[in-house]
């Protein structure tokens, strides 16, 4: 191999001294910003456009270097070319001159396009100054890099999402109720038929109320809060008759619920689309990881010396971990059968243990919920104790979510996976634990609501204990949210600050063992996804919950920023920006999927309460829709029935499957083509080197060719062939060489 490559090595540092190599088009693709050298490359530089390599994303393909582009509409914008500014200016003026030769229509199109582009840029600049927290996030990026930045921009996204959901809920459900008395509208309220199901004893406090009772009510949503717009039970309007049309509130309520779930889905998917594509491309576990770290590892945004030092050490750590992983992979490949059996058995046992731990946690949540519900039925004994019983499910969930990650990180060390897989697997377990605990809470609530003393429930739910069960569920969600917020604040104040004080001022063994707090991104992300899931589930029962959630995340941003800046150092295990964005959105999607289940079940399955809420006249909440549809005009009704019929559903399913198979087949075909092209590329490289070596050998033997000129008649064919091949651009084949004698 060396003899072939010796052509490329030059004795001194600098551009290759072989003029043949300099003239290859691939060398010309990289223009150095040098003053014109003697090799005459200046002329080329001035008139040629840069080759863009193999990327096919440009519309302008297949352009030969010597030709001027005929149509200006296919050109790349001037500023995306790798030239000096003077050259770009010249290019721009050249283009403007070219445009003058065009017809007036094309000229007009060009100028409008340019001015529109400029307008768009100015508009975007204005919008970006309006972006929330731009300055704060800039500071964080400079100090901690892009990994933590992605957490904070995720938080900002959630604030916006919650605000939009609140606006949706407010404008379609609350606003009509509020403005109806002020306009000429006529509101009809729900009719209570006086049966036992529609009895709703008022829960507002009577008589002399002690002050701390108000605080307890505020924290648990009972008492004076229960009969406000905060909860489902207060919406008693059946329809609002405006002069022109009738606004049916139950329908609006239901449709807004479906709409906000849909909106969240679409927004999240849109945000994750780019990350999704990238993650699909990287289908292997450690694809190209060394190159990524060397060439895209250093974060050019870092301006802080401490951050730079930490980034360096984290890169070092990453590289060492990768090398370690290579060694482990080798070790795994070398495992004997006996060892494999042992490992699998151990993994099975540990997984069963994990399942047992999860089951134990879920059972304790279940029991805590039931106990809490039962104790709420009895009159309160003591203010503090009462609050504790109310918050018992939240306390148990928080404790479980605190202990189980520690346990999981301990267990996974014995399972002997590769480090990257360990992190991911632990994370998945924690995600499952967090989100499933909400589900268990709701399930235990549901079992309480639908279990009656006499066996079957006359109203479909336990109307004695839960005259308005939706408000009750709303209260539980409200409590979860408040408690989550309190915990975030309390952990910051009571755990992280003292830790920082101990580590800074105390020089004991405890300080060294604790170490300075690291901003653990995965756990923080799980925390806010948990809060968001509560919000999604709870908005159906507690329409003002998104507003509370917006406020909560707004404050959490400042709390987290403060703790980051004052207490934390960046994580030694770095979290890559690209994959982290994708990871956050995937976890959020899992949360959304989990949130849809209880909402769907309660809309479609559980009978809504007869004593309160907008759906008094229907058995389940979903019934509003069929009723409304039956009142629509005939054509529209037919169309909607057709959409919901089996024929349509089956054919839609079949078509979707076909489309999916087609796309998968296409992807497979592309992959095969990519592999083939890669082989071809390697072969072409070898060919090129071989040919250049031959040419240069031929170049180096001018002396011998003198003697061979006598054979020129015989070898004239091959001579001219060789000459024609080498003649363009002044190759230094001064004399025709008889290559036949030198093979």
């Amino acid at each position: 191999m060396d003899s072939v490559d010796s052509v490329f090595y030059s004795d001194r540092i600098g551009p290759s001294s072989n003029p043949l190599l300099d003239q290859l088009p691939s060398y010309q693709s990289l223009l150095y910003r040098r003053k014109p050298t003697a090799s005459g490359s200046m002329k080329r530089r001035g008139s040629s456009r840069t080759r863009v390599g193999s990327s096919s994303s440009w519309k302008w393909k297949g352009e030969k270097v010597e030709e001027r582009p005929k149509t200006t509409s296919l050109q790349r914008p001037v500023r995306e070319q790798p030239k000096t500014i003077e050259e770009k200016r010249k290019d721009k003026e050249l283009r403007i001159e070219q445009d003058r030769d065009l017809g007036s229509w094309k000229l007009w199109r060009q100028t409008t396009r340019r001015s529109l582009r400029r307008l768009k840029e100015d508009g975007l600049e204005l919008l970006s100054t309006l972006q929330l927290w731009r300055g704060d996030i800039h500071v964080i990026e400079g100090m901690f890099g892009t990994g933590i930045l992605s957490y904070f921009s995720f938080l900002r996204f959630l604030v916006l999402l919650n605000f939009v959901i609140f606006l949706l809920m407010f404008s379609f459900v609350m606003l009509p109720i509020i403005i109806a008395p002020r306009t000429l509208a006529n509101t009809t309220f729900n009719i209570y038929d006086g049966s036992e199901c529609s009895e709703y004893p008022s829960t507002s406090r009577r008589g002399l109320v002690v002050f701390h009772q108000y605080i307890a009510d505020l924290l648990s949503g009972t008492g004076f809060l229960e009969e406000t717009y905060l909860f489902y039970g207060y919406y008693k309007v059946d329809a609002i008759h405006f002069p022109k049309f009738t606004y049916k509130l139950p329908l609006a309520y239901l449709l807004v619920t479906i709409a906000y779930l849909f909106l969240s889905l679409i927004w999240i998917v849109k945000r994750s689309a780019s990350g999704f594509k990238r993650n699909l491309v990287q289908d292997e576990d450690r694809f190209q990881s060394f190159c990524n770290k060397i060439f895209a590892g250093w974060d050019f945004c870092i301006t802080n010396e401490t951050a730079a030092r930490l980034k360096r050490s984290s890169l070092l750590y990453e590289l060492k971990t990768d090398l370690e992983e290579e060694r482990i992979k080798q070790k795994i490949a070398d495992r004997t059968r006996k060892e494999k059996c042992r490992i699998y058995f151990l993994r099975l046992v540990l997984n069963l243990f994990v399942v047992a731990v999860l089951a134990a946690c879920f059972y304790s949540i279940y029991r805590a919920t039931i106990y809490s519900q039962k104790s709420q039925m009895e009159p309160p004994a003591n203010f503090i104790l009462d609050l504790i019983y109310e918050y018992l499910p939240s306390i148990v969930i928080t404790l479980a979510n605190f202990i189980t990650p520690l346990m999981f990180t301990l267990i996974i060390q014995f399972e002997d996976y590769s480090p990257a897989f360990e992190i991911r697997f632990t994370l998945m377990r924690c995600v499952f634990m967090r989100l499933a605990s909400i589900g268990v809470l709701l399930f235990s609530l549901w079992s309480q609501i639908t279990s009656c003393s006499g066996g079957s429930c006359p109203c479909g739910y336990n109307h004695e204990l839960y005259p308005c069960w939706e408000s009750r569920v709303g209260q539980e969600m409200y409590k979860l949210m408040i408690f989550d917020f309190i915990i975030i604040g309390a952990v910051t104040v009571f755990v992280e600050f003292p830790r920082k004080l101990i580590v800074t001022y105390c020089d004991c063994g405890l300080a060294k063992w604790l170490g300075q707090q690291e901003f653990a991104i995965p756990q923080n992300v799980l925390e806010i996804v948990y809060g968001q899931t509560i919000c999604w589930i709870g908005t159906y029962y507690c329409p003002l919950l998104p507003a509370i959630s917006t406020l909560k995340y707004f404050i959490v941003f400042y709390i987290k920023k403060m703790t980051l800046v004052k207490n934390c150092r960046p994580a030694t295990r770095p979290f890559r920006a690209s994959s982290s964005n994708f990871f956050f959105l995937v976890v959020l999607l899992i949360g959304l999927a989990m949130a849809c289940v209880p909402v769907t079940v309660s809309i479609a399955q559980i009978s809504c309460s007869q004593a309160c809420g907008p759906f008094v006249n229907y058995t389940t909440s979903w019934e509003v829709v069929p009723q409304t549809v039956s009142q629509l005009p005939k054509g529209l009704r037919r169309f909607l029935f057709a959409l919901a019929s089996e024929a349509f559903a089956v054919s839609f399913f079949v078509i979707t499957c076909l489309a999916m198979f087609y796309v998968i087949a296409l992807a497979g075909a592309h992959k095969r083509v990519v592999d083939q092209l890669r082989e071809q590329l390697a072969m072409e490289g070898k060919d090129k080197r071989f040919l250049i070596q031959k040419l240069c050998q031929a170049q180096r033997t001018p002396a011998r060719s003198l003697g061979a000129q006598s054979h020129s008649d015989r070898g004239s064919q091959s001579q001219s062939g060789a000459q024609n091949y080498c003649s363009p651009e002044g190759v230094l084949l001064a004399r025709p060489s008889v290559s036949a004698t030198h093979v």
Binding site: P15, P82, G142, F300, G685, K686
Partner: protein, 187 residues
């Protein structure tokens, strides 16, 4: 404020806006930064295109570049003479390519130039070793350095010549998802 400035003519600002990824305000701000690097050298009035170049040593001490291990190479790649002396045009061009809105392909071209220490249009093993040593400040053992460089070349080299040409590099960088977000300087 924009109408009263006398640093650039309107045509100059237009040209800058078309040739870079900056807006007029940002160009003026960049001029301020350039000026404060050497107030006695850089004139406030650029309407007649003065030929002023700042040396490498002044530019690499900017706060945005100070902590960057590749700061000398970055400045050298954008200078006309390859020694790191930047005129204002080169200065603006540098930050334009490193800005958020520059496309990946353009960044890839310049990244290749930056990492190519011996400027031979190839990223050979020595270039990679120098890059790695600058990144880690030589805290890896020599064997580890060699191993990492070998693995990188193995991952990215397509035509089998055990060094990376621009085509190899670009192909690799399109599959590096972090590249766009890390190859970016905020100014």
């Amino acid at each position: 404020m924009g109408n009263k400035q006398t640093i650039f003519t309107d045509e100059q600002l237009d040209a800058y806006q078309d040739c870079t990824f900056f807006t007029r305000k940002e160009i003026l701000r960049l001029h301020g930064r350039y000026h404060e690097l050497a107030p006695h050298l850089v004139p406030m009035d650029y309407t007649n295109d003065p030929d002023v170049k700042l040396p490498l040593a002044l530019i690499v001490n900017m706060p945005e570049l100070k902590e960057n291990p590749f700061r000398s190479r970055i400045v050298e790649s954008f200078s006309e003479d390859g020694e790191g002396n930047l005129s204002f045009n080169d200065f603006v061009d540098m930050f334009s390519v490193l800005s958020e809105t520059a496309p990946r392909e353009l960044k890839a071209i310049y990244a290749f130039k930056i990492y190519d220490f011996n400027t031979d249009n190839f990223l050979c093993k020595e270039d990679l070793e120098k890059t790695l040593n600058k990144l880690t400040r030589e805290e890896l053992t020599p064997e580890e350095v060699v191993l990492v460089c070998e693995k990188s070349i193995e991952e990215a080299d397509l035509d089998g010549d055990s060094k990376l040409s621009f085509a190899d590099f670009e192909n690799m960088i399109t599959r590096a998802p972090d590249f766009i977000s890390t190859f970016h300087i905020r100014i």
